[in-house]
Every structure is written in structure tokens, then in C-alpha cells.
Amino acid sequence: MPRHLGVRIALVVIVVAVSIWYLYPPAKTINLGLDLQGGIHLVLGVDVDKAVEAQVERAGDTARAELEKRGIGVTRVERRGTAELTIQLASPQSWDAAVKTIDEVLPVFDRKEADQAAGRLGLALKPREVANIRDLAVRQGLETIRNRVDQFGVAEPSIQQQGENRILVQLPGVQDPARAKALIGKTALLEFKLVDERVDPETALRTGPPPGTEILYQRRVDKQTREERKVPFLVQKKAPITGRDVATARVSIDQNTSEPYVSVDFNAAGARAFSELTDANVGKRLAIVLDGNVHSAPQIRERIPSGRAQITGGFSTDEATDLAIVLRAGALPAPVQVLEERTVGPSLGADSIRQGIIAILASTALVFLFMLVYYRLSGLVADVALGLNLLLLMATMAGFHATLTLPGIAGIALTIGMAVDTNILIFERIREELRAGKTVRGAIDAGFARAFKTVIDTHVTVLVSGLILFQFGTGPVKGFAVTLMIGIAASLFTAVFFTRLIFDLIYMGQRKRETLSI
């Protein structure tokens, strides 16, 4: 009588029951990768240095304002490189007061250069602060993108940090990838800047913009010819109101032109600033600038106390909707750049699933038949073990919420071929033991025992390369490593433990049996 038969049967029953419980219903429990269900996989690089530069420039502005407030003349405040600042005083006489002020206002800077005679101070942002800003830029970027995606309405998006300054965005089932990408990648820095009309933009283009101003462009698309024109605007560099002052934004439709526009509500501080700005500049034009592009530059007719502005500019409904979303979610603290993109349309995903299923069914059928013909009853046992292996594989994937990708399907097909290898090793050994004159029972015992060591060896080598592949791989390829490793590990249970149990059950009590269907 084989040992622990009851315990072993119970173990198999439990494993099968738990597997089915995890797996049911398969359509819901198996997580399909983007390459199978369609969707976008984006790796974004956050330009963290830009965030540092912006912070340094803001610090420079603060320092200049504070120095001037205290009556210390400043000729020039300039950022150098990423994290350095040069302050040129009007006269060296105010040196001591200036140094004291700067130490007060800019405690996060180290003094790099101090040329008292020339009245020049060189400052550098402390390295720890630089690291903080970079880290914050990535985390805020992540948060902002998550907000935007949530508002865009994608089911089960995945947005996570990858490495130091990369963000991985995965959006399953998105129908319009270009739109989703534009929405995610837009910096969405909204600025309101006064148009400087003292100098003609064309002149400024030739001579260079006067100090404190810059040239920005408006892109105008001709409705008939679809040709694009760039119209230059000379605007003041300083933006009195930005996207930070926006409380909310929504899409409205113009009653007259029935064109959509974005209506922006400022928060209290923004509303006050907007009211003051419009009051002081009636008759001038105010450029609404998004990510350095002028959207429109309406003339200020009167003071606007309501704290509400309209952004028009020939939007389509989608464009207006997306602009409202990014304005609500806020600007990215630093620009992002697409480093890697993999977009699969839903029809290709469906084709892949269909072909994958065919491939798996066909390879299962082929291997099933082969084992049955070659090893007869024992082959059938191996086939049942193979079925159990596939069940375990899928259940484990469901249990760990692993993702099934197209290469993952290849991994399953490969598992089918490799899982029966274990049985082949065992069966060939049993045949050999029989040829050597062992009894049926003796041959089974020796076959399983002797083959086991080899089986372990072969499993280890496949698992080693599987693990390395998993470590290395991205998305789809990782899916391959996952199915392969789970399948190979499961075959230890199915092809060794389970097959042995069935053999014991079949040949139990038949001590005198002389033939074995193998």
C-alpha cells in the first residue's frame, strides 16, 4: 500500500479547488496586457533640471524684489547653468547689506563667489535642495498626470514612477491614443501676459526684444487651406497671473459662434490680481499663453472684477474639454518627454488573442496526442497532469494578478512542451528499469526516484534564465518570463507529484502485475 495516499489525494483536491476558486470566472480574473486588450504604454522622462531652473529663477526674482525693497540697487540677476545664480549689485557700497539680505531670503543657497570690489555674488542651490526639487518634480508630475487621467476617464489606468525620473503610464483600452498622449504630456503652464505694443513685433524680431519682453507666437490655422501661420507677439516676460491662480475650468459654448471655449474661474487671490491687472491696463491687450504659445490676445475693455476669464482660440470640443481638464489638474512642475511608447489598437489585440488561443489549443492537442500514442495509458496520465498544469498556471496568474501578454501566450505554449518533458524523463527511466528486469512496482519506484534529480536540474536552469529575463524585461517580455516560470514550477507538482499519485492509485494492490502501459 503506497504511503500517505489519503493526504496526497486531499492535497491534489485542495489545490484543484483553490485553483478553480481563484480562476472563476476567467474573463474577470485574468489580467490582459496592453498588447492583448489594446491600449497605451508610455514611458515619460521628467525634465527635472527644468524644475530646478524654474525654482532658481523664482528665487532670483524674490531676491531682486527684496533687495530693491530695501533700497539696494541691482543691475542684473541671472541664472547660470542649472542651479547657480549671479547677482550683480549696482554699487559695491551696499555689499554688506546685500549679503545680509540674501542670506535671509535665500537660505537654501550656498555662496560660491563673492567679489566685493565688483559687487558680484555667485550663489548655488544646495545639492540636497536640488535633489529635493527633482524628487518633488517627479512626484508632483505623477500626481498631476494621475489627476488628468482620472478626469479623462480611463478604466484601470496604471501610473507609476520608474527609476529616478521616469513615469510609466499604462492606459488600457484607450480609443484615441493621440488625444490621450497630448493630454498627459502637455505641461499646461497657463500664463497671462501683457502685450507690449510700444514696439512692433516685426521690428522686435529684427532688433531683438527690448529688455523684460519676449516674442511668443500664435499658431493660426486657415480653415479652408488648413495651412498654418505663426503670428508673433511681443509680450512682457513677467506673468502677473498663472495657472496656479486657477480655481476651476470648464467648457462652455459661445452663443453666437457656437464654438466651444474654456471658461476659467480664478481663486480669491487670482481674482484680486486679475481685477487689479485689468483695471490698470484698460485698452491694452492681454495674451493668454499656454506652454509658450499665445492662444489669444483679447483687448482689455474694462476692469473685470468677476475673477473669470475666457480662453477662446478655435478649439474643437475635444480640445476644449482636454484643456479644461489640464487646467483643473494643474500644470506639470517640469516638462515631460515621451521616451518610449507602445500603442496597440483594439483590433490587433483581438487578433492576437484569437491567434494565441489557436496556438495554445493546437500545441496542446499535438502534445496530448503524442504522449497518448507514445506512452499509452501512462501518456494519458501525463496528459491529465498537463491539463492540471495549465489550470495551476492560469490560477496562479489570477491569484497574483499577473498580466497575460502576447509573449506570455508564447510562454504558455512553451510550458506545454516543457511540462511533459518531466514526464518523458520519468517514463523513459521506468522503461529502462523494466528492460533491466525490474518488477512493475520496482520500476515505477526507481523511475521516479532516479529521474527526480535530473528533473530538478532541468528546472533550475530554465528558472535561472526565466528569473533573469523577469528582472530585465519590460511589459510584454516580463509576461513571457512570468508564464514560463509559473508553468515550469507548476510542472514539479503536476508532472512529478500528481503523476506519481495516479500511478500509485492505478497500480495499487496489483503487486503481481507484470505489464505496464507505458
Binding site: E341, D351, G356, A359, L366, V460, T461, V462, V477
Partner: protein, 313 residues
């Protein structure tokens, strides 16, 4: 009872020099083709660039597509039929254009040409230069690490010589796969790398089975009978031949099915797996089995010489 080989007595090891010749010739052909084509072709995973898979509603000619792309200054794209004459892969090298711009221009160009009919963009892949370089380096590390892992495992389980011969067999298999890829004009991609790593882990399996048999026979007293090492290896290979071939056969079945029915996206990966399974079996016999005989021979002669030198001195 069906038996593939009943008591086979092939003289594998004796004919090993022929096998070396075949292997070397095949790999040389592969290397020759790589050199002639300016190196192994890298897909966008490693080289960077943009790939667009587009399906038209009716059959179209490559020239027509190229003509359409030329209108948007994208005539230098590589245009490749994918499955049938309605589906194409367009590949653009890394350029100043962003992936959005490339996709937008392509769509615009294809939509503008009335002769092309309706189309659907089914897949867009863009890999930036940084990511491509990262992946290249990681790929090399992945291959080296898995070889190192296997070398250590076999060196511990058997001996260093066996480990080195197994690694030689693995390198042989990888080279054969790469040669076959170059000869059939296939590109190196992440999926191919996955296939190669799998082959690395799998092809060594049969080698282990054969080495295990050598050890078992020795325990039974093969060495006491004064059997030369060459015969020991040859016997072990023959005794394990049926399982070596059978295990490879089942895996070959599944990879062949994958190649035939798994769809165009998996085709290259399945191709490499097919080749890998075949060469993996071959290399067990002719590389891992044969090299260890030659190397053991050299070692013994060298040790023998040294002993003589020591004796004289």
C-alpha cells in the same frame, strides 16, 4: 510499445570533427551574412525609432505607400509587408520628429492618397535613443548573467570542465540562432532576446541528462573496466538519446505550432525558439559531449607532460 531508438549504438563522438565542421560552416555563413548586411539588424527596441503597423481595407502596393509618405518627407521609411498585402509595417529611424509628429504625418499622408483607401493604425511603437541604449546594455547583461548562473550551477553539480563545455554549447546555440536570424533577415528585438534566454536555459537540460548518465555509469563501475572517457560519453549519449530527442520533440511541436499559427507578431520569436530547440539537441551531443572529450584529452596530456617534467627534475 513504440520506441524511437532501441539500444542505439551511434558513434557520435567518433564523428565529432564532422559536426565541428558543420557548426563552424553554418556560423561562418551567419557571420558572413551579418557582415554583408552591416551587422545584425536591430529592431526599434534596441536601435530606437518609430514603428507603425497599418492595415488597409484593400490590398496596396509598397510603392504606393512610399509615394504617399514622400509627400510628407518620410520617404526614407522602411516599408515592410506584414502577413499579407493589406498590412504593412512602417519603420522610421530616430529623428528630430517626435513620435506624435511621425504618427500624425503618416496618418495625414495615408488619408490624403485616395488610391490607398481607408486604413487603420493598429500599432505604434516608439523607442527613444536613451531607452534603446539602456535596453542594449541590459540585454547583454541578461545574456551574460544567465550564462554565468548556469555555469556556476553545472560547475557545482558536476565539474568545471562540464560547466565550461555546457557554456560552449550555449554560446554555440546562441550563435546558430543569431546566424539563422541574419540569414532569414530577421531583426533583433526584445521578444527575440526572451527567446534566446529561454534557449540558454533550456538547451543545457539535455546536457545535464547526459552528464548525469556518465556519472551514474561510473558509479556502476564503467571506469574500473578501463573504458576510455570518449566511450563513456558516447555510451551516455546513446543511452539518453531517446529522452533527449523526445523532450526536444514535444517542445519543437509547440514552437512550430506557435510559428505557424501564433500570428505575425510572435513569428520571429517562435522561429528562434524552433531553431534553438533543434540546435540545443544537436549541441548536447556534438558540442557539450564532444568538447568535454577533447578538453579532457588535452588536460590529461598536459598533466601527463607536467608529471614527466616533474619526474625528470
Amino acid at each position: 510499445m513504440i520506441e524511437l531508438f532501441r539500444d542505439p549504438g551511434f558513434n557520435f563522438i567518433g564523428r565529432r570533427r564532422w559536426a565541428y565542421l558543420i557548426s563552424v560552416l553554418f556560423i561562418l555563413a551567419g557571420i558572413g551574412s551579418m557582415v554583408a548586411k552591416g551587422g545584425l539588424r536591430y529592431g526599434i527596441d534596441f536601435s530606437g525609432g518609430t514603428l507603425i503597423q497599418v492595415r488597409f481595407e484593400k490590398p496596396v502596393a509598397v510603392d504606393r505607400i512610399r509615394h504617399a509618405l514622400e509627400t510628407v518627407q518620410m520617404g526614407e521609411s522602411v516599408i515592410q509587408e506584414f502577413g499579407d498585402d493589406r498590412e504593412y509595417l512602417l519603420r522610421l529611424p530616430l529623428a528630430q520628429l517626435s513620435s506624435e509628429e511621425v504618427t500624425r504625418r503618416t496618418q495625414e499622408a495615408l488619408a490624403k492618397d485616395p488610391e490607398l483607401g481607408k486604413h487603420e493604425i493598429r500599432r505604434v511603437e516608439f523607442v527613444g535613443p536613451q531607452v534603446g541604449r539602456d535596453l542594449q546594455i541590459q540585454a547583454i547583461y541578461a545574456v551574460l548573467w544567465s550564462m554565468a548562473g548556469i555555469l556556476v550551477y553545472i560547475a557545482i553539480r558536476f565539474d568545471l570542465l562540464g560547466g565550461l563545455a555546457s557554456i560552449a554549447a550555449i554560446i554555440h546555440d546562441v550563435l546558430v540562432c543569431l546566424s539563422a536570424m541574419s540569414l532569414t533577415n530577421r531583426e533583433m528585438s526584445l521578444a527575440i532576446l526572451a527567446a534566446l534566454l529561454t534557449i540558454i536555459g533550456y538547451s543545457v537540460n539535455d546536457t545535464i541528462v547526459a552528464y548525469d548518465r556518465v556519472r551514474e555509469n561510473r558509479a556502476k563501475g564503467a571506469r574500473r573496466k578501463g573504458e576510455p572517457f570518449e566511450t563513456q560519453i558516447n555510451n551516455a549519449i546513446n543511452q539518453t538519446l531517446s529522452r533527449t530527442v523526445l523532450t526536444a520533440l514535444t517542445v519543437f511541436f509547440t514552437t512550430a505550432v506557435l510559428y505557424l499559427f501564433g500570428g505575425k507578431v510572435l513569428e520571429d520569436m517562435a522561429f528562434v525558439l524552433c531553431i534553438g530547440v533543434v540546435t540545443g539537441t544537436y549541441s548536447t551531443i556534438y558540442i557539450a559531449g564532444s568538447l568535454i572529450v577533447d578538453w579532457a584529452g588535452w588536460r590529461d596530456r598536459w598533466v601527463g607532460k607536467r608529471k614527466k617534467v616533474v619526474a625528470k627534475a
